[in-house]
């Protein structure tokens, strides 16, 4: 309770400082617009069907990206974790590629998938793939060998081993990997949309910037932060159950 009050006081203090800075006239008026203007822009944005259309585009890209990237990452992680040969051949590369900022692949993805949603989905999927694959691979290695022996003893097929033993056994590392993956997929998609696109939230942000609509841009940023926080909270809850 005390912590919640403290957080509220902190938020109010920051808003007051922002407002004071806006009123001081030290900066260009539009760089730090008054909260009043931002609130108005927020209302306008929320009433604008174009916002929802673009939100739909980004959400669709995001869902496709995490489905493709998550599935590919989980499969690759299972294979790398369970197969020593594959791990020896590929795992090092996965670890090398993982921290590379995926945005440098964007030009290549534009060539391959065009300026539409395809290249954004590919960006998100590639971003999502690595944390999921790495997390699942190490999770597979932590599965107790006796459980695998139980499966082999009952003559489980490779598919049954994967779906009935490995997958449930790595549920936690998989969910953790997916959480990281969702985050970097969102980053990848939004980043790609700000670079070259015709639709999406990232496009809207850049569009308001180009029109020098600072209140509108801040309104969009606030909405993105709220959305990401909501998705994260939902995932945390999913992880706990």
């Amino acid at each position: 309770m005390a912590a919640a009050r403290l957080r509220l006081i902190a938020a109010v203090a920051i808003m007051a400082a922002w407002e004071a800075l806006a009123a001081s006239g030290l900066l260009f008026r539009d760089v730090v617009p008054s909260l009043w203007y931002i609130a108005k822009a927020l209302a306008i944005t929320l009433a604008d069907p174009a916002f929802y259309r673009n939100l739909g585009v980004t959400s669709g890209e995001f869902l496709m990206a995490v489905s493709v990237g998550g599935l590919a990452g989980a499969s690759a992680g299972l294979a790398l974790g369970a197969n020593r040969f594959l791990a020896a051949a590929y795992e090092r590369w996965v670890h090398y590629l993982a921290p590379v900022p995926k945005i440098i692949f964007f030009p290549a993805l534009l060539l391959a998938f065009g300026a539409g949603p395809g290249s954004k989905i590919a960006m998100g999927a590639i971003s999502c793939f690595f944390p999921v694959a790495i997390s699942v691979a190490s999770g597979v290695r932590a599965v107790r060998p006796v459980l695998l022996n139980v499966g082999h003893g009952f003559r489980a097929t490779t598919w049954q081993m994967a779906t009935k033993i490995y997958l449930p056994a790595v549920r936690e590392p998989l969910l953790n990997g997916l959480r990281l993956g969702f985050g970097v997929a969102a980053i990848g998609i939004l980043l790609a949309e700000t670079k070259l696109s015709k639709a999406g939230i990232g496009f809207l942000v850049m569009d308001s910037y180009r029109r020098f609509d600072m209140p509108g841009m801040y309104a969009l940023l606030i909405l993105v932060v709220l959305l990401v926080a909501a998705v994260n909270a939902a995932l945390t809850r999913l992880n706990r159950n």
Partner: protein, 266 residues
């Protein structure tokens, strides 16, 4: 005696290179007849678990031969059901789904496998705990789940590797009595790997005594105690005589094991 249903013929298993290796099991030969309960007993570190994994088809690359019903074992054999020493229930499945696991692998319909699993859950005395998860059970109960799960597969031969090793003495005795009961009822051919003398004598028709490293057959003892064997058998003079007799063999081997350990320590 009936024809042997399981035979182990001149099995030798080495680990490591020829220069720096350990012979875990050497020229090991014995058999188990249908409906018979045989124990392999030996001091810790004598290669019992290696033998278990070889018979279970989980360890390859050994010399000799293991056959089931005349058929050479090459990988896990459908006629053999294994119960492992370590905790081996699936923590993400409740009791009934753990027990139904082998049936699920075979594609038995959900209704039928639950019914059949319930039968074995009841047999090991866990009726009423079907919906519980392993984390909510005691170690002894979890081991009973593992035993029920293996029985649900209806193996011709039940192969157990010190299934009671991690349990306390009382639980072990109670579970031993339970296993005898089940074995009598199902006329289940069973091979038990153990280091416990009382367990071996209480449960077995024959006991194979193993030497310490390399593990060879030291002696095969026939236990001529009447069946069914209840708890009262534990206090009978015949029981004590068997235990004492076996202890003479086992003590020698266990001492060799201790010497080897001290030798390593110095």
């Amino acid at each position: 005696m009936a024809v042997p249903t399981l035979t182990v013929e001149h099995v030798t298993k080495r680990f490591g290179t020829t220069e720096f290796g350990v012979t875990a099991v050497e020229d090991f030969t014995f058999d188990v007849a249908e409906g018979e309960f045989v124990s392999v007993i030996g001091p810790s570190g004598c290669g019992k678990s290696t033998l278990f994994h070889i018979i279970g088809g989980l360890t390859g690359d050994y010399q000799g031969r293991v056959t089931v019903g005349g058929e050479t074992v090459n990988g896990p054999h459908p006629a053999i059901g294994m119960v492992f020493q370590e905790e081996s229930t699936f923590p993400w499945r409740n009791v009934i789904d753990n027990v139904a696991f082998p049936l699920e692998l075979r594609g038995v319909s959900r209704a039928e496998r639950l019914e059949r699993a319930l039968h074995y859950v009841t047999m090991v005395g866990l009726r009423g705990f079907e919906q519980r998860y392993p984390a909510e059970l005691s170690g002894g109960m979890r081991q009973r789940v593992s035993i029920a799960r293996t029985l649900a597969a209806q193996p011709k031969i039940l192969l157990m590797d010190e299934p009671f090793a991690s349990l306390d003495e009382q639980t072990r005795l109670l579970l031993g009595a339970k296993v005898t009961q089940i074995q009598q009822r199902l006329r289940q051919t069973t091979l038990l790997i153990t280091h416990s003398l009382t367990e071996a004598v209480q449960l077995s028709d024959r006991i194979v005594v193993m030497t310490f490293r390399p593990g060879r057959v030291r002696r095969i003892v026939e236990v001529r105690l009447p069946r069914p064997r209840g708890d009262d058998i534990l206090t009978s003079p015949e029981f004590g005589r068997y235990v004492a007799e076996l202890w003479v063999d086992l003590r020698e081997e266990a001492n060799r094991g201790l010497d080897a350990a001290e030798h390593l320590a110095t």
